[in-house]
């Protein structure tokens, strides 16, 4: 019979320590073979030490975390939190074994990697960067400083929030990432992402043609760039971007090869006078 008075409970300090080890160390000892396995073990150490006073129990417990692990480290924080609460339950005699823990970890790491990589790396950071670029005109350090502050605050407190949410709600904590609300949030973020990316493209990239046709009297009768702008301002920029997108998505050309194709196009364009960066001698 378990006794409520004897129940082990992880204190805030231990949890915070565990979280910090994940925050700083999830990827430090990364290899293609074990990926984040060692980062994960390092994060669980304080937990195990706290829950199992006996060294042999600690050694027994760590075994569960020697299994391969890899996920998006930002959102993955929630998984570490969940295992902390599972480990606590196990230490209190609940029927949880290493396999249960590993099943959970293996089941969650995939989807959370997918969501996290596309949401954090693929959407949130580009948005922040896009905004910061807008503050960097004229070589101003403002943008970089804004990015550093904004991102670190989001990353630190976001991960911390997820870690403790995972600890508190266990398995259910993930539902808001993958459930209906999660889908709605992702949809909303993707709208912001798309629009900002469009804005970044228009603000920062400007592919133009220098092609001008001259009439017999020596006067310009076709300024192609002006014509294109009157159809849709920034048309060439959009066209080149869509072309790259098409190459990579529909033709499965790699990014490197896409760049090389741009080199070829530029070369030909320069030769025929379509492109001219207009450098001073």
């Amino acid at each position: 019979m378990e006794n409520t008075n004897n129940l082990k409970k992880l204190d805030k300090k231990t949890l915070t320590n565990s979280f910090h080890r994940w925050f700083w160390g999830a990827l430090t000892c990364f290899s293609q073979e074990h990926m984040q396995t060692f980062g994960y073990m390092a994060s669980m150490l304080p937990i195990l030490r706290k829950l199992y006073p006996e060294h042999k129990d600690q050694v027994k417990a760590i075994k569960a975390y020697t299994a391969f692990f890899n996920t998006n480290p930002m959102l993955g924080s929630v998984i570490v939190g969940i295992t902390a609460s599972m480990e606590q339950a196990r230490a209190n005699g609940k029927e949880i074994d290493g396999e249960t823990i590993n099943d959970m970890r293996a089941g969650l790491m995939g989807p959370i990697a997918g969501i996290g990589d596309s949401l954090i790396d693929g959407t949130l950071i580009p948005i922040l960067l896009g905004i910061s670029l807008g503050m960097s005109t004229g070589g101003s350090p403002l943008g970089a400083i804004f990015y550093i502050v904004a991102w670190i605050l989001i990353a630190y407190f976001g991960q911390r929030f997820l870690y403790f949410r995972g600890y508190k709600f266990g398995d259910q904590a993930v539902s808001f990432l993958v459930g209906k609300q999660g889908a709605a949030v992702r949809r909303a973020i993707s709208i912001v992402g798309s629009m900002v990316v469009g804005g970044v493209l228009a603000s920062w990239v400007n592919v133009t043609t220098s092609l001008k046709l001259y009439g017999s009297n020596g006067k310009v009768f076709l300024n192609l760039q002006d014509k294109l702008n009157s159809i849709f301002p920034g048309l060439l920029t959009v066209v080149v971007t869509l072309f790259c997108w098409w190459l990579m998505t529909k033709r499965h050309v790699s990014a490197i090869w896409t760049m090389l194709i741009l080199v070829v196009i530029s070369f030909i364009g320069v030769l025929v006078g379509f492109f001219n960066p207009g450098l001073s001698y």
């Binding site: 700083w24 999830a26 990827l27 430090t28 000892c29 290899s31 293609q32 073979e33 060692f38 980062g39 390092a42 030490r49 060294h55 050694v59 995939g110 989807p111 997918g114 790396d121 693929g122 959407t123 580009p126 960067l129 896009g130 905004i131 670029l133 807008g134 503050m135 070589g139 943008g143 970089a144 991102w151 670190i152 209906k180 889908a183 709605a184 909303a188 993707s190 709208i191 992402g193 798309s194 629009m195 900002v196 990316v197 469009g198 804005g199 970044v200 493209l201 603000s203 400007n206 592919v207 301002p233 997108w245 190459l247 990579m248 990014a255 490197i256 741009l262 364009g269 320069v270 030769l271």
Partner: protein, 290 residues
């Protein structure tokens, strides 16, 4: 502009902090210090030309705005872009006598950044491979029950991998590369086909970065629409990015509510349509990411 040994060493240190499997953690190291925008700030301070540093950082950041590395698959590692590419670009721009804030300087920076970008990929895999050594130490410790040593395995030993594959290459390449880049100045005239092509390519490279992001976002033709609207707001109405973001938030709120109101169709309905489709790590198109 030249780069001294001590400057090169500082750049080497930052390379250790930010390269993937980065010593300063992913959030602070890779996602902050590693981003070219921040790299530009750092290099600007270290090399004593803040404005030029930022300008180069901004230029390269555009090309590498979408650095997604699913399952540890890195196709362009930020250490090389930010701490080898930016310094060399700064030297090149100065030696060519270009205005740091002009578009041509930015285009040159982008081309140089991309040239050194692939170097980083090699170094990245080298570090990850060498980490296997420390991990083998770790397994032994686990087996012997020496759990206390795991901390050193995770946070200590990998510095050696980085000293060899991040610090040294960065220091050497920036030190000697600066001389090389300056020498190039006489070799290639500014109005020759080569330089013209280089600058034209530089102007287009960010399209690849944006295209990668688009691949992330676009699943249906309709997903292009907000992208085009954002483009229009900035290109035709000259809204700045903060303003574009403000406007986009309104649409985001609407879409959120629309998704939430799709009550009856079951959970898979909205998910099937919603923006970036979550996929298991490592399953999607890995090697194509920049």
């Amino acid at each position: 502009m030249t780069i001294s040994w001590i400057q090169a060493a500082i750049l080497g240190l930052f390379a250790c902090l930010c390269s993937n499997s980065c010593m300063a953690g992913q959030a602070v190291g890779n996602y902050t210090i590693g981003r070219p925008l921040v790299g530009g700030l750092v290099c600007g301070i270290v090399l004593g030309n803040l404005k030029l540093g930022i300008a180069c950082g901004v230029a390269m950041q555009l090309v590498y705005i979408a650095l997604v590395t699913p399952g540890g698959t890195v196709s362009a590692d930020v250490r090389a872009i930010s701490y080898i590419g930016i310094p060399l670009a700064m030297v090149a721009i100065t030696s060519q006598g270009l205005n740091p804030l002009a578009g041509s300087a930015a285009n040159l920076a982008k081309s140089i950044g991309t040239l050194v970008g692939t170097v980083g990929t090699v170094l990245y895999y080298a570090v990850a491979t060498m980490n296997l050594v420390w991990q083998s130490f770790g397994w032994k410790d686990v087996h012997k029950g020496k759990l206390d040593k795991l901390t050193a395995v995770n946070f200590g030993w990998p510095w050696i991998s980085h000293a060899i594959f991040s610090f040294l290459p960065t220091m050497i390449l920036t030190y000697y590369g600066a001389t090389a880049v300056t020498a190039l100045r006489n070799a290639l005239p500014m109005d020759g086909i080569a330089m013209k092509t280089l600058f034209t390519v530089g102007g287009m490279l960010p399209c690849v970065g944006i295209a990668i992001l688009l691949r992330q976002i676009v699943n249906h033709a309709a997903d292009f629409i907000p992208f085009f609207v954002g483009f229009t707001l900035a290109a035709s109405l000259h809204l700045n990015l903060v303003s574009v973001t403000v406007v986009s938030l309104l649409f985001a709120v609407i879409m959120y509510e629309v998704e939430m109101s799709k009550g009856s169709q079951g959970p898979q309905g909205p998910q099937g349509k919603s923006g970036p489709v979550p996929e298991a790590a490592g399953t999607d198109s890995e090697e194509e990411d920049i």
